[in-house]
């Protein structure tokens, strides 16, 4: 349904280009829920923004192919893109406060979105009330009549999610949409996405750094690091048997009931690199306990590890020592 091939995002400069997303392949099947995990600077947000051609300047898609259903998005003109946004692909952004018009009431904005997709005024109003209820507002009437500044960050985020699902998109792309929300509201939104997905067979791409949310929601996970996918695998397989040292370290660093109280957590030395300042070789090698000569010379491609799992590491898990 959605397929990214060798997508590179960055800025063109007088002397060459600066790449931040360095060749991402990503596929989402119809009805599938996919998670994209990564830390700040991993390129996960930019990759998804490139799908809807919403990259902030001077960033642009430098090369690669982005296909949605039977169309190549990065060859469409702006009008063609407009017809994809909303009804085809809807996106919920990380920063909700900047996505709503501060001068318009919530009702006006949601109704407008629906009308621009061909709903009648009465139908748009009905649908607005309905979706605001679905995202957990106990008093949708009050929220409808409010201006964005009268709502808390969490409430605005829920309005954004309501707007995204109002048009019944075939693909929902959500970028950390629940990070700022209370966990009980997050739970309700995850349940909502589950039930919508089951009813409408909408596909979902959920971008998050929260491995709990990923484990809870998605069928398949893409792990990004320094502008590339370093591992992708079915969710159960990734959590049970990670095949990239970064995924393994990330999972091993989490506190949980099975970790002894106050015992030292497995930490990953260093911090995520700036993808524009990478030395040759594997970008994780400085933090990797298993790095050897080859890792400094050549960046590993994705290798098939079996059972639907792929990892960009020169070493198989059996060779991690």
């Amino acid at each position: 349904m959605l397929s990214l091939r060798d997508v590179r995002v960055g800025s063109r400069r007088r002397h060459g280009v600066r790449e931040i997303v360095r060749g991402v392949d990503l596929d989402v099947m119809a009805g599938e829920k996919v998670g994209v995990v990564g830390e700040s600077g991993s390129g996960k947000t930019l990759t998804m923004l490139s799908v809807l051609r919403l990259l902030p300047r001077p960033l642009e898609v430098l090369s690669g192919q982005i296909r949605f259903e039977d169309r190549t998005l990065n060859e469409l003109d702006e009008r063609g893109m407009e017809s994809i946004r909303g009804a085809g692909v809807a996106m919920v952004y990380q920063d909700p406060m900047t996505s709503l018009n501060p001068l318009l009431r919530v009702r006006t904005q949601v109704v407008e979105t629906l009308r621009s997709h061909g709903s009648s005024d009465a139908a748009a109003r009905r649908r607005t009330r309905e979706v605001l209820g679905q995202v957990g507002f106990v008093d949708p009437e009050r929220v409808e009549a409010a201006f964005p500044h009268e709502l808390s960050g969490g409430m605005v985020q829920r309005v954004m999610i309501a707007m995204a699902i109002a048009t019944s998109p075939r693909l929902l792309v959500a970028d950390e949409p629940t990070t700022a929300l209370d966990v009980t509201i997050q739970q309700q939104i995850l349940d909502l996405v589950d039930s919508l997905q089951a009813r409408t067979s909408m596909s979902v791409v959920w971008v998050s750094h929260d491995l709990g949310v990923i484990a809870r929601l998605v069928d398949r996970v893409f792990v990004m690091y320094a502008g590339r996918v370093v591992e992708h695998a079915p969710t159960v397989r990734l959590f049970a048997q990670p095949t990239h040292p970064y995924s393994k370290a990330l999972l091993g660093s989490l506190p949980g009931p099975e970790v002894e109280h106050r015992a030292r957590l497995t930490q990953i030395g260093g911090s995520p690199p700036d993808p524009t300042l990478l030395a040759p070789g594997c970008p994780f090698r400085a933090r990797c306990p298993f790095a050897f000569d080859r890792c400094a010379e050549q960046e590993p491609p994705l290798f098939d590890r079996g059972d639907g799992s792929f990892a960009a590491c020169w070493k198989e898990p059996s060779e991690w020592h």
């Binding site: 106990v138 989490l254 009931p257 497995t266 911090s271």
Partner: protein
Amino acid sequence: MALALRTVDLVKVYPLRRGPAVQALRGVSVALESGQTLGIVGESGCGKSTLARLLVGLERPTSGTIELFGEAILPGRHRELARSVQLVFQDPYSSLDPRLTVETAIGEVLAVHGLAARGRQRESRIAELLGMVALARRFAAFYPHELSGGQAQRVAIARALAVEPRALVLDEPTSALDVSVRAEVINLLVRLQDELALSYVFISHDLATVRHVADVIDVMYLGHVVESGQYDDVLGAALHPYTRALAEAVPIPDPVREAKRRVQLAGEAVPTPGAQVVSSGCLYRPRCPLAEEVCRVDRPELVELRRGHFAACHVAARDASVPAANTT
């Protein structure tokens, strides 16, 4: 064991120009034993950050008292708090001045408190503080934007330690950090606590982290403590329906266990999210799947239902009293 910190019936009301005042804290009593960690969990609006600000003297309570190491902090003496209790914020970049190097930022704190104010003495004290948070001496010359998130948070911790506090209030200290550096900061905080015999108030919405570091956990809801006890009692055998709802809402990073849990929870009554304030009875009642008539009229007090395990819930109190009656 001596108490590091105790609050008695803390109330904080923010008057609004229009409409009813905001009751951020409605009578909060907490206690932290010296050298231990008190975890405070709750959702937005529960008052946990207000409590943090009161504990370090950034704001004054409307009523109620704060005792530090056995001494009551009297009105007008809140500055004393600043010396013995330091606050570490969620976002290190916004708590560090972008125009100051690490050395200047820490040096300023030393100067204000009349500690190792100049020369070689100051330099070696700064190096010592950086060493405590496992940063090399060269970081003294760095500006905040040259530091990674984990390094910046370690600088913020070093700055808090500069005045030799006996307690730290940590307000979501790992939430703004990348996942891969959180473990490092948690390990650092645990190590510093052991080395310096520090007492911590650890405020977070991340239940797994609080469970890992805290000895005692208080759960707050709309300005009240609704449950309190040892960490494994509160998060392993919760008594209050709100604590259970919180724990169930946090997804576990294990898809197999998470799926099993979802099947188990499917039949259970789910609380309504979103706090609504009610004027009488239990504040959690509008969301509570267990609410009864008594919850509408009578506000439950925090009472000891099991040994060292307190909850403010009529239903939990009744359920707990049955087996207790049998054993006596």
